[in-house]
Symmetry: D2
Subunit: 257 residues, 4 copies
């Protein structure tokens, strides 16, 4: 985004935020206000009326609310012809089908639902899946703060599965490994044949490295996330894209091409 | 490549190597011999006859010779209907046009000419060009042994230009940088607006890191090359692909899809 | 620090904080309260009386105030026989001599003045100075957010000088570098013969890597700082140490042995 | 070592190499010949006479032979008043006692016996042991080629034990870790309470990272070894030091101070 663009000019995207009082919602408000090509026209929280957002002329609504209200919000948005970008969790297959049904009646409206708006994480996974077919070896090392309950992280598990699927499709056999003498756990967790290691240390936030190796060389893709504000560029990207993408888009992946 | 595949079975690719006595050529011979789906049927060096390769039934010839003989080799290969994979340098626009002319008469023959057979380096550049449009900041740090004459490396220069072009296409402005107080050189070389840093140290071989940053997160793509054998997986990939790719293919990129 | 230690038991260190309303001071208050072996007995800000701290029985006062008040604070502390840990900046040679004079009259009191309480940064510099004599090559790459005005950072400059001094003492000649063809700046800034590179990117906080190389191997010391809370372990270390260290101690270095 | 020093001047150290035909021995010969302050005066292999080395005036003998001949070599060296640097393996407590006995009769002779002459690895372990006492968290990630049989590596095991001992001495409790939901192996091997992860990938040589973390910051010490020549700077260091170090010195550590 260049500074030359006129802030809030006639072509600015009018954005409303649902769940504006929550941690993510508040970040979205700040990010929209800071974006040169957007205008924050409505902020809606628990006790506010959605109708305010429509009256303020919002073209796109960003929803970071809760699973119990998000479906009503979405139904209303689609009815009103307002595009939606949704980061709220809890979208089962059933819910997604329901959204598709609503959109069938309003083919001009776009909805983006994504479990992860981190551009870096999404690109890391795309690149990993793409590199996987060309390298004999691959391992994943993720690093997080020590308060995390699961090991490996969800992102590491998802990456491992993508990589394993790409290897299978390319006809690659098992990763070479001559280990015969192992102290239990040294070689990490086996996720579909891909070894995943989870490091936990005070001071770390959320990091992941995917290491590919072949004869004489390695390729490493590393993602470091320091803050929940790291999701904002992905949210803004979706806000810009959703107006030209009628129908349902699942995942940030589809917007990166 | 899995061990289960029958070595040199009837469907093995018959490969000949031109320049088999050179450093790269010798590595190619070793790599072909070690590949489960290939058979080394001919090795040709300075004083040998090319015709041996044809008599030995080579389907694909790999050429790591010198600029002064490579054109004759290629002309002969195409005439004979033998596919070629070429790592020899010196291919000007003029030479490439000449090869295209020869191939026009033999539409069944495939030729792959690539300046760099390192899969890791090629993927690093592809990924960097792709990530470039989504990140506000980008810098390149390359690291090499201290006997290297040029700084930055050719690969770093090429990467910087690809990244700069992708940024321009995405409408990104200059990379943010508030530096007002700099000791000369601290911020690196400016290559089309992308800062490039060249580290030189004994013990290093050839390494490069492309760092992308946006609010709250960074994405790093790193390539480590330890040995000239790192080109072999790319050469083998080209040998496998060239038989199904009539006409001229420039660069390993085109084979990665 | 283990959880088993009795919080605020009779042997807890009674700590007061001067400048408790500032950003660093507030962090110190939180850190002292969270420490199992300390008790926060007084917080003093701009309009408060220092005497409160004495009445509350503070054994150690931590000063993160401003250069214009810190000397009065220190004089008073030493007079009262209270140990001091000082992170306030602006300590010239002259000021340090004055503090030494005051301490001469109170040989039982300890004062620690440190420009940097980051344990990681201090250890990085110590290790770098120590490794420097054994490696033919060394380079420094520091990475910071793009709002930083100076390049290289103060820490990188200081590290380069320590490394250069250690090399000189060990009789090492210039770092090997065959570069003849350089795009201006590629090889970084020259600080006493040590090349220093400054990377700037959105998303980064404060990071530094010191790379040492010799035949066939490299040793890298890397420090990542994400937050001003990273100074707290160093402050707590100084609070614990100062009671047994009468006289003046300059720099956190001296406490790490 | 600077180029200005006169090669093989009167003050050059006269060095002989035992096991000069072996892989390590041959590297030592090359390294001594390349060193500006040393002169290679004798190379002794399986069928050669040790006495040649004495006649050639060797001041220091470097022994990279085999466990079955090294004791006879050492006994002879000490008798002759020649200093020795020994990289041959197999030194049990019993053998070391025997060497001490021989040295008791020749208090002017120095012997250095070291299991690992890699300066980088030795410094990594020293720094890790030193940093351990100041950081709440620590984990080790080692990375090797996939032909390695043991996981973790011996160096990683040794580092973990040094770190664990330093933590215990500093009174640190267990490393924080809230993991409740682990896929077996994700959290690595537990070596005296320190988690160690072993990565195996084609293209890697021998690498190790020790990660320390405390509030808001991490410190990482990384060692990359690419080649057996990486032991040479350590061997040369020992050759220079042994002449001024009568008696027995065990490990390269003792020479780094």
């Amino acid at each position: 985004m260049t500074d030359e663009q006129e802030k809030a000019g006639p072509e600015s995207i009018k954005v409303g935020v649902l769940g504006a009082g929550g941690r993510m919602g508040a970040e979205v408000c700040r990010a929209v206000e800071a974006a040169a090509d957007m205008k924050l026209v409505a902020t809606v929280d628990q006790d506010d009326w959605l109708v305010n957002a429509a009256e303020a002329g919002a073209e796109v609504l960003v929803d970071f609310t809760t699973p119990d209200v998000v479906m009503d919000n979405l139904h209303w948005c689609i009815d009103q012809g307002i595009h939606a970008v949704v980061g709220t969790s809890g979208f089962t297959e059933q819910r997604i089908e329901k959204v598709r049904g609503w959109l069938a009646d309003r083919p001009d409206v776009g909805v983006v639902i994504a479990p992860n708006f981190g551009l870096g994480a999404v690109l890391m996974m795309q690149f990993a899946a793409r590199a996987a077919r060309y390298f004999e070896s691959v391992e994943i090392v993720e690093q997080h703060h020590p308060r995390k309950l699961d090991a490996p992280s969800g992102t590491a598990m998802h990456t491992a599965r993508l990589v394993a699927a790409a290897r299978a499709e390319a006809g690659l056999g098992p990763v070479p490994d001559a280990t015969t003498d192992e102290i239990a756990g040294a070689r990490g967790a086996d996720v579909d044949g891909v070894r995943v290691h989870a490091v936990r240390a005070t001071g770390l936030v959320a990091h992941q490295e995917v290491l590919f190796g072949t004869t004489g060389e390695t390729l490493t893709i590393r993602h470091d996330s320091y803050d929940r504000v790291s999701f904002m560029p992905g949210v803004l990207l979706a806000v810009r894209a959703v107006r030209n993408r009628p129908g349902l888009t699942l995942g940030l992946d589809a917007l990166l091409d």
